[in-house]
């Protein structure tokens, strides 16, 4: 494959960012918007060309049927020493090709959707510039050839997420949310960086290909090295996973994602549902062969994922803001992917069930991107129509917004895991992998899947059924065409994506593999999902006092769920009470009084002294000369005296 197309995939979004960022203020909204769409559309076509060429061209498949990891180009950027070399390049393999498709598709649809959603907003051009920046960074992240390039783009993604969450920068809550997102993910990235350094210190390389092929041999030097009771490799992998936890909003670093919903809704669809938040999953998938070496690291991934999935599902059942419900559902679904990666090895370093978990995780990443973007864009259409984020302001909308309703329903069915929608297939694979790992994990994840179905249909019924509030003169209506097209397209994809023979494209060892559904698991998961949907329908289909009664029956549980188990308060307590009061204030006092005090007194003494000697400069030239002569004579005299 030539170098031009892959390079253009990265260059076009970057160019659009610069163009719209610099010249955007001179453009009309329409021109900027269509330029952004045009740029992203071109990138979309190029990315599809590259990805489909990779999947279907025989030149990228070895004779054994294994797909070859191809480095299209790899430019040395900073060569510090022989081993410490940082390169920038383009790695094409099944998961990066998959991500190219996902990112460009969602990004293009969001560009298109925003034409309608953001119409007339102040800073429209800036919005499109940031979207392009984000697309560039995300594309750079997934095609990274080495872990350091990934880290660079990882941070760029974080920065563009910060910019987009804080897009409404006059709104206090948006500013606070963007800062929170940035700081929490930065904190996690500190762990990531330390992990990178530890890993590369032992392996002497940043390169993914070197790390993942023959990882046993490359990481041989970590043998026997331990730190605080755990092997160094475990530490490195767990620290790298910490970075992934931050970006993918795993507990306990999930607190930023619900607040990130302060950004414009299309941004939530693009960044906080479909692409950026799966970067953590992508990272673990990228390093998967290395994770296989450490049983405890995969165990941690699985356990963190399982706990987060359950927690987020519980919280999602009680939220009022529809975007927050979707945010917690995103956390829960990403946790599904994490669990799936965690259970992909059987704990002895062998890949069980032909790496089913890995494949399922990537499959779910793909389908989830589609249906969650659909749900978010649908939520955007609802918010656009009723000008509120809360379901209390909605109800009975199926009469007014048929297209939104049907597409939203498809999204809900997909996420609930009802065949033949896409979520069923990927979730079922995850459940199979979980059962194969341990029956407990399988049951646990099935319960979470049931909760998913429940809270999504709770949301659905509360929005489209329930009782109509007073809409006044402005009855809500379906969104304009640019917003409609992405909804319909994503709904169509969610209907058919499950039938893609995914195992032929993405597997952990890149060998083709046939997916077969386990009928027992499939039936049980569909059964519980249908039960959950029926329960949701029973409780929320029409206005009735049952939800209120249940809430009053378990006030403590409801309170804890509604307040997200007080995680934010806990963080507030730790940062404000303990860190600010206990550490920062004494340090600030020391800085202000001791360090600044010393410096200030130096300055004061100098000042005083200069006041005293300043009158010597009288402006009388002849006095200067006189003093000079006297001084010269004195010096001369002293010299002479010394010589004698």
């Amino acid at each position: 494959m030539g170098i031009t197309l892959p390079l253009l995939i990265l260059a076009i979004p970057l160019f659009m960012f610069l163009l719209l960022g610099i010249a955007g203020v001179k453009m009309s909204h329409k021109l900027a918007g269509w330029l952004g769409c045009l740029g992203m559309g071109t990138t979309l076509v190029l990315a599809y060309t590259v990805a489909l060429t990779y999947y279907f061209c025989p030149e990228f498949t070895a004779e054994t049927g294994e797909r070859i990891q191809t480095i299209v180009f790899n430019q040395t950027w900073l060569a510090f020493t022989q081993n410490l070399v940082i390169s920038l390049g383009f790695l094409l393999d099944p998961i990066s090709a998959l991500m190219l498709i996902v990112i460009t598709t969602i990004s293009f649809l969001v560009h298109l959707y925003s034409l309608g959603y953001m119409e007339g907003e102040k800073g429209f051009q800036r919005y499109y510039a940031f979207l392009s920046l984000f697309s560039f960074s995300m594309l750079g992240l997934v095609v990274a050839t080495n872990i350091f390039q990934m880290y660079i783009f990882w941070e760029l993604v974080g920065a563009s997420s910060y910019l987009l969450i804080g897009f409404y920068y006059t709104k206090h809550s948006a500013v606070a949310a963007s800062k929170k997102a940035f700081i929490v993910t930065r904190f996690a990235d500190l762990g990531f960086l330390i992990g990178i350094l530890v890993l590369s210190y032992y392996s002497q390389t940043f390169d993914f290909l070197k790390l993942t092929t023959d990882s046993q041999w490359v990481l041989a030097s970590t043998q026997g090295a331990t730190f605080m009771g755990a092997s160094v490799l475990t530490w490195a992998l767990v620290l790298i996973f910490t970075g992934g936890m931050g970006k993918s909003a795993m507990m306990p670093l999930h607190i930023w994602l619900p607040d990130a919903m302060e950004g414009p809704t299309p941004v939530s669809a693009l960044i906080h549902a479909a692409t950026m938040v799966v970067a953590g999953v992508f990272l673990v998938a990228r390093m998967f062969p290395v994770y296989l070496l450490e049983e405890s690291a995969t165990m941690i991934v699985a356990v963190v994922g399982a706990v987060t999935a359950f927690y987020a599902a519980m919280v999602a059942c009680t939220q009022i803001d529809i975007k927050r419900v979707l945010a917690f559902s995103t956390i829960s679904q990403i946790a599904f992917m994490m669990v799936s990666l965690g259970v992909a090895s059987n704990g002895n370093g062998d890949v069980c069930h032909h790496g089913l978990g890995y494949m399922a995780s990537m499959f779910h990443m793909f389908t989830h991107a589609m249906f969650k973007a659909l749900l978010f864009l649908g939520a955007g259409a609802l918010i656009h129509a009723v000008h509120s984020n809360d379901y209390t302001a909605m109800g009975g909308l199926s009469r007014y917004m048929p297209v939104t309703r049907w597409t939203f329903l498809i999204g809900c069915l997909a996420i609930a895991g009802i065949p033949p929608f896409s979520g069923f297939f990927s979730k079922d694979e995850i459940l199979s992998a979980a059962y194969a790992w341990s029956p407990f994990m399988g049951v646990w994840m099935t319960i979470v899947a049931a909760m998913t179905a429940f809270y999504m249909f709770r949301l659905y019924f509360l929005i489209f059924r329930w009782d109509e509030p007073d809409y006044g003169h402005h009855t809500p209506h379906d969104p304009p065409l640019p917003m409609m097209i992405p909804l319909v397209f994503l709904a169509a994809v969610s209907c058919v994506a499950g039938f893609i023979p995914f195992g032929h494209f993405v597997t952990w060892n890149r060998m083709p593999y046939d997916i077969h559904l386990d009928p027992w698991i499939a039936c049980s998961s569909v059964a519980v999902a249908i039960c959950a949907i029926c329960l949701a329908a029973y409780m929320y289909r029409t206005k009735n006092p049952l939800p209120e009664k249940m809430k009053n029956a378990m006030p403590v549980l409801w309170d804890w769920c509604h307040h997200r188990f007080y995680w934010d308060e806990l963080y507030m307590f730790i940062t404000h009470k303990i860190i600010f009061n206990g550490v920062c204030r004494p340090l600030a006092w020391f800085d202000r009084h001791i360090i600044d005090g010393t410096m200030d007194s130096f300055a004061a003494v100098t000042n005083k002294l200069s006041r005293v000697i300043a009158p010597l400069q009288s402006g009388q030239v002849q006095m200067y000369v006189f003093v000079y002569i006297i001084g010269a004579l004195l010096l001369g005299g002293i010299t002479v005296l010394c010589l004698i």
Partner: protein, 103 residues
């Protein structure tokens, strides 16, 4: 009578001291400039004297003096120009009253 270096050095010293005294005491800037030239000439003379008595047969000191004279001429022109400008600005070239550029 044999000519000794000291015969030349003493007038040169007297010239230098006169120049110095004038430079410190005269208030008129033109007079100060003249005193400055006097000191410069004394120094030039010293060059010539030492060249003649310490390194006879060599010409470095002589040529140095020639250059110094040329530069002194240029410097005088510059100084006069400055003085004229000062005069234009303040109608006054009394150095005691020109003390505005102190701290």
């Amino acid at each position: 009578m044999e000519l000794k270096a000291i015969y030349f050095l003493i007038p040169s010293l007297i010239m230098f001291c006169c120049g110095l005294f004038g430079f410190i005491t005269r208030r008129n800037m033109i007079a100060m400039l003249i005193s400055l030239e006097l000191m410069l000439n004394a120094v030039d003379m010293n060059f010539v004297i030492f060249n003649r008595f310490l390194f006879p047969g060599q010409l470095e000191g002589m040529f140095f003096t020639l250059f110094a004279i040329a530069i002194a001429a240029a410097e005088t022109a510059l100084a006069i120009a400055i003085i004229i400008n000062v005069f234009r600005a303040s109608h006054n070239i009394d150095v005691r009253t020109l003390n505005e550029m102190k701290f």
